[in-house]
């Protein structure tokens, strides 16, 4: 074999088996007669016998062989369908040789290199942003812990003097009522009512501070839940009577004793019943139900108040958020009660949810699992 024949043989072999260039030998009609390994790998197809047209991703119907072979020196940017299912752009050149068409395709390496650089740079930026995000998150967490510590301390220190003001104002109302005129009694009542609200606020702050600091723990003891409900109703009855609200209670008193944190559960039930009474229209009905099945204790309280739009439901369990549903006798709220209630129910392994429609009233539900055995 002559030297140049030898070189030609080696070049052809390399070209067919290894070169990262697409090669097609086409019949005049566009049928693939011969191809190379790279083309088969990129397309994931055997290719021989297929029409080249079927390989092209040709959106505007511009792939027209007779036109493409007119100028062999020109490269045409065309897309082919690849094994991954994605189109890939190649620069193609066409040449007519001995009654057949030779077609080569090359990748734009500069474009690939730019893409790689861009990808690396985007990835670095993303990771740097992630780092900043983690760092800022940790700082916010520290600030939040500090805020909770401050809140807890302030609330704890406020609780005692507020309790004293409540006691003394009650004492004065009771003992000095014959010595004071109506205005003075009214001032004392305002002091007393404001301090009672302030005490609720401080108690709620303490609860929220414990919840956010992860110090919210249950003291689980055997108790009857219907007794808890009865206690709660006793606390709420006065308020209901003032508004002429009929409290309709359907409580199953045969419920077994179960393991719960009775004071906390009473706080949750009282919050829900108080809310219902406060949102109920005067003279309307508030229905309360307590029952039990094999797995859960189920509670619900339904009012006939103004109700809420669906988009407001999310606000309910967020601290200090208030919905547009106004309390019907202008009662005050700390904006923390529902958050605390949810935490109490969830700490018992239960779930709480609200069903409400504007103009139709609201029903609050919760269920907590009954311990097995």
């Amino acid at each position: 074999m002559e030297w140049d024949q030898h070189i030609s043989f080696e070049t052809n072999a390399y070209f067919k088996d290894r070169a990262p260039v697409l090669f097609f030998l086409l019949s005049n009609g566009g049928k693939i007669v011969e191809t190379n390994q790279y083309a088969q790998t990129i397309t994931g197809r055997h290719l021989i016998g297929e029409n080249i047209q079927d390989l092209m991703v040709d959106f505007n119907d511009t792939f027209h062989l007779p036109t493409l072979i007119n100028d062999p020196s020109k490269e045409h940017l065309l897309n082919i369908s690849t094994a991954s299912g994605l189109p890939q752009s190649f620069y193609f050149s066409f040449k007519k040789v001995m009654g057949k068409i030779v077609m080569f395709g090359r990748l734009d390496t500069e474009e690939l290199e730019n893409m790689r650089k861009e990808l690396v740079s985007l990835n670095q930026e993303l990771n740097n942003i992630m780092r900043e995000l983690h760092k800022t998150n940790a700082q916010l967490k520290r600030l939040n812990e500090e805020k909770n510590r401050f809140l807890g301390m302030a609330a704890h220190d406020l609780r005692k003097p507020i309790g004293l003001i409540i006691s003394y104002s009650e004492f004065l109302i009771e003992e000095a009522k014959n010595l004071l005129d109506a205005d003075q009694i009214s001032f004392l009542n305002t002091i007393n009512v404001s301090c009672v609200f302030m005490k609720h606020l401080v108690d709620d702050f303490l609860d929220v501070s414990a919840i956010e600091a992860g110090r919210f723990e249950l003291d689980l003891q055997p108790a009857f839940i219907h007794e808890i409900l009865a206690n709660s109703l006793q606390l709420n009855k006065l308020q209901a009577d003032k508004k002429g609200i009929d409290l309709q209670v359907n409580s199953d008193e045969s419920l077994p004793r179960t393991i719960i944190d009775a004071p906390k559960l009473e706080q949750a039930i009282t919050n829900l019943v108080t809310n219902a009474i406060e949102h109920a229209s005067p003279g309307s009905l508030v229905s309360i139900s307590l029952s039990c099945d094999q797995r859960f204790m189920n509670f619900s309280v339904k009012d006939e108040g103004p109700g809420m739009a669906p988009e407001e439901m999310d606000k309910l369990f967020k601290p200090f958020e208030k919905t547009s549903a106004k309390k019907t006798a202008g009662e005050k709220s700390t904006g923390l009660g529902m958050l605390i209630t949810r935490k109490i129910i969830e700490a018992h392994g239960g779930t709480i949810w609200i069903d409400s429609r504007v103009g139709k009233g609201t029903t609050a539900y919760f269920k907590i699992p009954v311990p097995k055995g």
Binding site: R116, V120, S121, N123, Q124, E125, N127, N128, M130, R131, H134, K135, N137, A138, Q139, K141, R142
Partner: protein
Amino acid sequence: MIHEKLYETYLTSLLDGERSKCHDIVQKLLDDRIDIKKIYTDLFQRSMYRVGELWENNRITVANEHLSTSITESLLNLAYPSIFARERIGRKVVISCAANEFHQIGGKMVADIFELNGWDGYFLGANSPIEDTIRFVHDAQPDVVGFSLSILSNLDCLKRTIEAFRSDFSNMDLLIGGQAFRWGGIDTIKQYDGTEYIQSLDHLEKMINRM
């Protein structure tokens, strides 16, 4: 302690581009409360040094090297919740890569080791223009500044960066480190006053403890 077998499995997965396998290994180590510094030195640093060697010896492609770096960098994110939760000691460091330096993972790991030791470690990223770095340092007022260099051919860029930095901050401690210095350039760096060369993450931690 990271066992040799685990390291080998991690390295193989890294070179094969198997992000999720690497992720699981690192997550397991974190869940098992393995010292984060150990994960940084004995897994991340060791494997990245190996990847660098393989690339330098033409055993893997540059794309392979970039993929391994990208995976490692994303795995650092797993450790961040623990790293940044450490108690702060009220000291700050700014770490930057020289202008024209596109390899950032080493510099970022240095900033993270400072964080592990209670410092606030600000990392400015790859190819940081010197004007931006100087402006940031003026704002942040750190105790120390560090520059990372991975490719020795960028040494002149680093020299220009140090000189520009020194004209604004003549007394601030400066740390220099990076894989570039395996091939030389340390003497050049030592000519600058108040500049210390950091060989490794272990060396860095010893120095942090002295500061």
